[in-house]
């Protein structure tokens, strides 16, 4: 309102100021002399112009403010947005993440006598993995496995299911100085396949060389401490561990620990990853070590093509030697083709086995794989068809696993 009143007053003043000046009295000259306006009129004009400018500025400011108010009314409020999808207010939110792995296998064996009697279908394993943070410094992981031994191909009864805590361990994740530690019962980090669950391997079966590390591998209770040393684009990991030694002394006849030492060199150059490792398991009860060396090579130019080479050699406690070398090619996003050569040598025998594998993923949670092997010494062909399915929370896989 004051603005309007001021405008009205100013308008009247301007109208008055714009009136032509009254004519000057006539003199002897025909042309009227030009006379400057009175000084007070000029001042009056200047004052009115200033008032007009001020009013126009005020109006402009008001228009601008109204414009901004209108824009602000439509705009999102400044500052962070309101919280979305708050964490579930439930004690269940603290429960472990659960992942289940099913591994269904169909096996067919063919010998010179024909199809072998143990050709059948069975659920090789069902694993339940439970993972959760324990506190800011540790994470716990447990894998409870329900496993069925493979029915003997040459016939005979299957042993049925056995259940055991395959792994139950604590990872200390907040250690300084590039250290990490694991305590509990777990697959000991010896080589490549010993620390990998069978359903994570790129094959339908497990190389027999694993039995040189321990019966179906070395899984024991104890602890490891690992130190990571960065060297440019490479890294060296030194791992030392101590374990109860149960796999070397299943009957519990002596008190002797087993020590683990492992060195792993890993290098990356563009699309190529290379890992070289050496491991020793020392049974302090007998003094006979198990030693091994492993190689991992991966070339992955993109997410849908890759080439992986895995090779591992093991010397068992009794001096037996074994190992495998495997090649896997990924020609498309969902398909992997692989070949593996196994060798096992003791005092009396030298066994070879040649195997081929074909894998298809429908998604990272469902996989179909077929594999076939030929053992020349036994003149035996075996084939496995495998369906692996994963459900539950998303597990994080080691880098050498397909996906």
């Amino acid at each position: 309102m004051p603005v309007l009143l001021a405008l009205a007053g100013l308008g009247a003043s301007l109208a008055h100021a714009a009136d032509p000046p009254a004519p000057a009295p006539s003199t002897t000259s025909a042309a009227p002399p030009t006379t400057p306006p009175p000084a007070d009129a000029n001042a009056r004009i200047a004052e009115l112009e200033a008032r007009l400018a001020a009013i126009e500025a005020a109006q402009a400011a008001e228009r601008e403010a109204a414009f901004m108010r209108e824009a602000e009314a439509l705009a999102a409020p400044p500052g962070p947005p309101p919280p979305q999808a708050a964490a579930r207010a439930s004690f269940n939110a603290m429960n472990p993440g659960i992942t289940a792995f099913g591994d269904l296998v169909g096996q067919v064996g063919v010998s010179p006598d024909g199809v072998m009697p143990g050709s059948t279908v069975y659920l090789r394993s069902l694993e339940l993995e439970l993972r959760a943070d324990v506190d800011p410094f540790a994470k716990a992981d447990a894998v409870i496995a329900f496993e069925q031994e493979a029915p003997p191909l040459d016939g005979g009864p299957s042993e049925g299911f056995g259940a055991e805590p395959e792994e139950a361990y604590l990872d200390l994740v907040a250690l300084p100085w590039r250290l990490s530690a694991r305590v509990g019962k777990f697959k000991v980090p010896f080589g490549i396949i010993n620390r990998t669950h069978p359903h994570d391997l790129p094959w339908t079966d497990v190389p027999e060389a694993l039995d040189l590390v321990g019966d179906e591998g070395y899984n024991d209770t104890g602890g490891t401490l690992a130190w990571l040393l960065p060297i440019g684009h490479a890294a060296v990991t030194f791992t030392a561990g101590a374990f109860g030694g149960e796999p070397f002394d299943p009957d519990g006849e002596r008190a002797a620990l087993t020590g683990l030492g492992r060195v792993e060199v890993f290098a990356n150059a563009g699309n190529v990853d290379v890992g070289l490792g050496g491991s020793v398991l020392q049974d302090f009860g007998t003094g006979d070590p198990v030693s091994g060396a492993d190689l991992t090579f991966r070339w992955r130019p993109n997410q849908r093509n890759s080439v992986v080479v895995l090779a591992e050699g093991v010397r068992g406690q009794d001096g037996s030697l074994g190992g495998y070398a495997a090649l896997q090619v990924q020609p498309s996003r969902s398909i992997y083709v692989g070949f593996r050569e196994d060798v096992l040598q003791d005092e009396d025998t030298f066994d070879l086995k040649h195997s081929l594998f074909l894998t298809y993923y429908t998604s990272e949670f469902l996989r179909v794989r077929i594999g076939g092997g030929y053992a020349p010494a036994a003149q035996q062909v075996d084939a496995l068809a495998q369906l692996t399915f994963v459900w539950g929370s998303h597990p994080v896989e080691p880098w050498w696993v397909n996906r």
């Binding site: 439509l74 705009a75 994740v173 590039r178 990571l228 990356n268 990853d273 997410q303 998604s363 994080v396």
Partner: protein, 326 residues
């Protein structure tokens, strides 16, 4: 002798530089703008699918040396947890001063109401591909600046100023210098975030003054496009693209033959002219669909560095708009 001492000084300055490790290239690019003197390492490349990076020991080694770890979060880099757990570097773990989740304080889209794998590979906290909306980049910059200020408080003022300058640069690139000069970039950004910018500018007769990405992207409003994966929610929301369908059956699930037939029908029915495929996906099926329908296949960068054109964050957004407006 002088060059020897210069080299020593250079080495010393490099040794004392703040070590910043970013999981994704767009975060590395922004971190470099906020802290040009820091040593920035990016773990994934623009040509990598960020869902499936392998947590190799080489990456663990890089993380082990970090003063600041910046990740996208929202369950995108599932591999990140393994790196943090194995790096032996407690100062960058979540909750510590050296940890930054770049998507904090962002409005998330596509938070699933029904969390089941039957719907594909869902992200429980919402769609994590936030960086395809340029207006999310300044929020990430603020988060990174805050993290840098925590681990290097002596330079906090610089980081804050650089984040502010980055926000101004993004606003200018988004709306054009003229309109930003007239209305202010922050107000324009907030109008855009409330999806009221077009309406407001039209009501004031200001549409012609709109410039930048917003002007270029105006032709995308309602444009029917087939996308490969559900990673464009934020771009679609910002530029008003009409999503006709996805090449993947469901997120992470390759298309079946039936789904391909369905897409063919959708492309014809909606007069789709562009099929998007991110550079790390197999273009075979999009090419097949393109050949059968005449639609163009746009191979786009999933992140900074994903194509030769996407050299930095600004060039990345340019490259997306060039590809989709073709």
């Amino acid at each position: 002798m002088i060059s020897f001492f210069s080299a020593l000084l250079l080495l010393a300055s490099q040794a004392s530089a703040t070590e910043v490790v970013c999981t994704l290239p767009w975060l590395g690019d922004i971190a470099h703008r906020i802290a040009p003197d820091a040593h920035i390492t990016t773990l994934a490349r623009g040509t990598d699918d960020p869902h499936f990076l392998s947590p190799t020991p080489a990456l663990m080694a890089r993380v082990s040396a970090a003063d600041l770890y910046v990740e996208n979060g929202l369950n995108l880099e599932l591999w990140s947890e393994r790196l943090l757990d194995s790096a032996g570097n407690p100062k960058i773990r979540p909750g510590q001063p050296g940890y930054v989740k770049a998507t904090d304080n962002m409005v998330r889209l596509e938070i699933p109401t029904d969390l089941t794998r039957a719907k594909g590979d869902l992200h429980p906290e919402g769609n994590p591909h936030v960086w395809t909306d340029p207006l999310n980049a300044p929020v990430a910059a603020d988060n990174i600046a805050a993290g840098l200020s925590r681990v290097d408080p002596a330079n906090a003022a610089n980081y804050t100023a650089n984040a502010k300058a980055f926000r101004a640069k993004i606003n200018e690139a988004m709306f054009g210098a003229d309109l930003v000069g007239f209305m202010g970039g922050d107000l324009l950004a907030r109008l855009a975030q409330s999806n009221k910018l077009d309406e407001f500018l039209a009501s004031k007769g200001l549409t012609a003054r709109l410039g930048g990405w917003a002007k270029k992207g105006a032709s995308l409003k309602g444009k029917p496009i087939i996308f490969y994966h559900q990673s464009w929610a934020y771009f679609i929301n910002r530029f008003g693209v009409k999503v006709v369908g996805f090449v993947e059956d469901r997120p992470g699930i390759p298309p079946t033959a039936a789904h391909r037939d369905e897409l063919l029908g959708l492309i014809k029915a909606n007069n789709v002219k562009v099929i998007e495929v991110t550079s790390f996906y197999d273009p075979k099926i999009p090419n097949l669909l393109g050949q059968q329908t005449g639609a163009k296949v746009a191979v786009v960068a999933g992140d900074v560095g994903g194509t030769p054109q996407a050299t930095d964050y600004f060039a990345y957004i340019d490259s997306l708009l060039n590809a989709f407006t073709q």
